[in-house]
């Protein structure tokens, strides 16, 4: 099912939790709702599920306007951040509950529930109470409970935040698998950019209730709409140098040499932020170009992360282990064309070539 939101607004007294958001979630895709704490992710999810009324705007499920529909009529499955499994019901009863409410005959609903329990690999624990399960197991029960009524839309609110690092990665893949198998349109809330990028087809990045960018996951990294997006996505974070744009060159505040960056639609003398992904920084043996000192190096896998001293600032660069410089070395720095962006310093808006 396709989900379309139009000019969605949610206000709490004087707080605008969600501000005029427009988006279309393609059918069968996994969309990550990403953003720092308090940016309105849960609010958005709650409005989609119907447990929170919208202040303004419309929500469409396919072509049906569901804006005023109560949760029980929306056919959505919701997995809460802390799962909210019914503590007095066994795993089986929890999964059965949505069907029981629909007055599905007992034998049939038990069969269905078992089917979904198998799908989330929880079928060995059907008789346990929620308190007798680990966090990861509880989460799987919550997912099964959300899926068993065959929802048109599956909503997950930071479902992995209570799990330890290893289980988190495992469950992430599990959710991906379950989503693929069931083919249900899914919205997954998280504030962890790595989690979002590893799981989703699309990411909607939000800040203070405003949509920053909604795009295919890899485009968010390769083609950020503004400085906030560029900064939020990517680990280590994108390098940022402040300075002035002048005739195809960027003049950093931090050090002398200008960087040729090509023609942008920018007035000469404007203040800009020159941002570069660590893998787009080229580090070479000292030659004629900008020279910097290597401050620290970290080996991670086949690459070495070099922290370079760029005047007052720092620049991170990924270098192949074989050609990695030593600490205290002086190296020359230049930039690739890819993974390099120029933003308005004040508004954070992106400039295009």
């Amino acid at each position: 099912m396709e989900v379309r939101i139009e000019d969605l607004v949610k206000r709490f007294d004087d707080v605008v939790a969600v501000n005029k958001v427009n988006a279309t979630f393609e059918s069968g895709k996994l969309i990550a709702l990403l953003g720092p704490s308090g940016c309105g992710k849960s609010t958005m999810l709650n409005m989609l599920s119907g447990i929170m009324p919208v202040t303004e705007g419309k929500i469409y499920f396919d072509d049906r306007d569901v804006t005023m529909l109560s949760p029980d009529k929306r056919e959505v499955g919701l997995v809460f951040q802390n799962y909210a499994l019914y503590p007095h019901m066994s795993v089986l009863e929890n999964i059965c509950f949505p069907l029981k409410i629909k007055r599905v005959p007992k034998a049939e609903r038990i069969e269905k529930a078992k089917e979904y329990a198998r799908m989330v690999h929880i079928d060995d624990y059907l008789d346990r109470l929620p308190k007798e399960l680990s966090g990861g197991q509880q989460q799987r029960v919550a997912i099964a409970r959300a899926l068993v009524k065959r929802p048109k839309l599956l909503l997950l609110d930071e479902p992995l935040s209570n799990l330890d690092a290893k289980l988190r990665v495992e469950m992430r893949e599990e959710i991906r698998r379950i989503q693929r198998e069931s083919g249900v349109t899914t919205v997954f809330v998280t504030h962890d950019q790595e989690e979002a990028t590893s799981i989703s087809d699309y990411i909607m990045l939000m800040k203070l209730g405003v949509k920053q960018q909604f795009a295919k996951t890899r485009n968010l990294y390769n083609d950020p709409a503004n400085l906030f997006v560029a900064d939020f996505i990517g680990n280590p974070t994108i390098n940022q140098l402040h300075g002035i744009y002048e005739k195809g060159n960027f003049r950093p505040d931090a050090y002398e040499n200008a960087i040729p960056i090509g023609r942008y639609q920018i007035e000469d003398g404007s203040r800009v932020v020159f941002a570069s992904r660590p893998e787009s920084v080229i580090v070479e043996k000292k030659n004629g170009k900008t020279v910097m000192e290597v401050e620290e190096t970290y080996v991670s896998g086949k690459d070495t992360l070099c922290v370079l001293k760029a005047g007052d600032g720092r620049l991170r660069a990924y270098v192949d282990n074989d050609s990695a410089p030593q600490e205290k070395d002086l190296v020359s720095v230049s930039f690739r064309d890819r993974g390099v962006f120029v933003f308005n310093e004040e508004s954070g808006e992106r400039y295009y070539e």
């Binding site: 447990i51 029980d72 919701l78 802390n82 909210a84 019914y86 308190k131």
Partner: protein, 308 residues
């Protein structure tokens, strides 16, 4: 630790033994209370227990013919005691469940209302802070034969008036209403506390799962409230087994036709009157004690079972 010791010792040498000074203080604070318990609860209990086995006991001369089960044999074969037991059990079986059901409904409604909360809080607290003696006066007025509120309404409607307080059948009915009414506030307050402990997220989850109000009430609210319900049911049963004051306040005697004669009434009468029979009274007390003890144990079991 040493800092703490200093403070508790009131500035005396911190090396002085912590425990001795504490024990002294504990004794000082707990003493009067413990003394009261020993004098008014523990000693009488032991005494009553022993008394129940003393045959032909005379409290004035402090003599008895020997130890045995004669008192129990007498009491358990006494038709007056047995009918008292029956009356009491009937009272428990009627008043406790009905008041519980009414309380659950009211508590859930109160828990869901945000408006009028202050007014409602006073409303359901009123009976708790008003003395039952005063309430009984109001009840007597409401159900009075001549000029009573209900009879006025009945006669205005052209029906013949009912002798609520003077007939066996209706006096029983009035007692049950009185008992239910008096038990409501306490029950509602406990249930409200229980309701407040239920995470609202379960309601939200149930709503998303498609549940309507009634589904939520039966599938979520009541089961999650069941530990409190069990507790209240048992506590109310225990106090209902000891019913006496309500009868006395309404009728000044065990009902208009001795029809509301409860176990406590039996004990009360055996202790007093012109020909007191202390042994019988003690035996009846111990029987009641065991009934209540069974309920207390039941509560423990239920509470364990419903502990999520």
């Amino acid at each position: 630790m040493s800092k703490k010791t200093k403070r508790y010792n009131g500035g005396r040498d911190p090396d002085e033994k912590f425990e001795t000074s504490m024990i002294g203080k504990i004794a000082l604070f707990l003493g009067p209370f413990m003394l009261g318990i020993v004098i008014f609860t523990i000693y009488p209990f032991i005494n009553a227990f022993l008394m129940s086995f003393k045959e032909n006991f005379s409290i004035l001369r402090n003599t008895f013919s020997g130890w045995g089960l004669a008192n129990y044999r007498k009491v358990l074969n006494d038709p007056i005691f047995l009918s008292g037991l029956k009356t009491t059990i009937k009272y428990v079986v009627i008043v406790v469940p009905i008041s519980l059901i009414i309380s659950i409904v009211i508590a859930v409604l109160l828990n869901n209302t945000r408006r009028f909360k202050a007014i409602l809080q006073t409303a359901y607290f009123m009976p708790l802070v008003t003395s039952t003696a005063a309430i009984s006066l109001v009840f007597r007025f409401i159900f009075a034969n001549e000029g009573g509120l209900i009879n006025k309404i009945i006669t205005t409607l052209g029906q013949t008036q009912i002798n609520f307080l003077g007939t066996n059948r209706w006096s029983e009915f009035v007692l049950y209403i009185f008992g239910i009414w008096n038990i409501l506030p306490f029950t509602i307050i406990l249930l409200l506390a229980g309701l407040q402990n239920i995470d609202p997220q379960y309601y939200t989850a149930a709503k998303v799962d498609g549940a309507k109000t009634l589904d939520i009430f039966t599938n979520i609210t009541v089961p999650l409230l069941s530990p409190t319900i069990a507790l209240v049911a048992i506590v109310n049963s225990i106090s209902a087994f000891k019913v006496f004051d309500y009868v006395f306040q309404l009728y000044n005697k065990p009902g208009p036709g001795y029809n509301l004669y409860t176990i406590i009434y039996y004990i009360y009468e055996k202790f007093g009157g012109t020909k007191p029979q202390y042994g019988h009274a003690a035996a009846a007390s111990i029987v009641l004690f065991f009934i209540i003890a069974v309920f207390t144990l039941l509560q423990r079991v239920l509470q364990k079972k419903t502990n999520y």
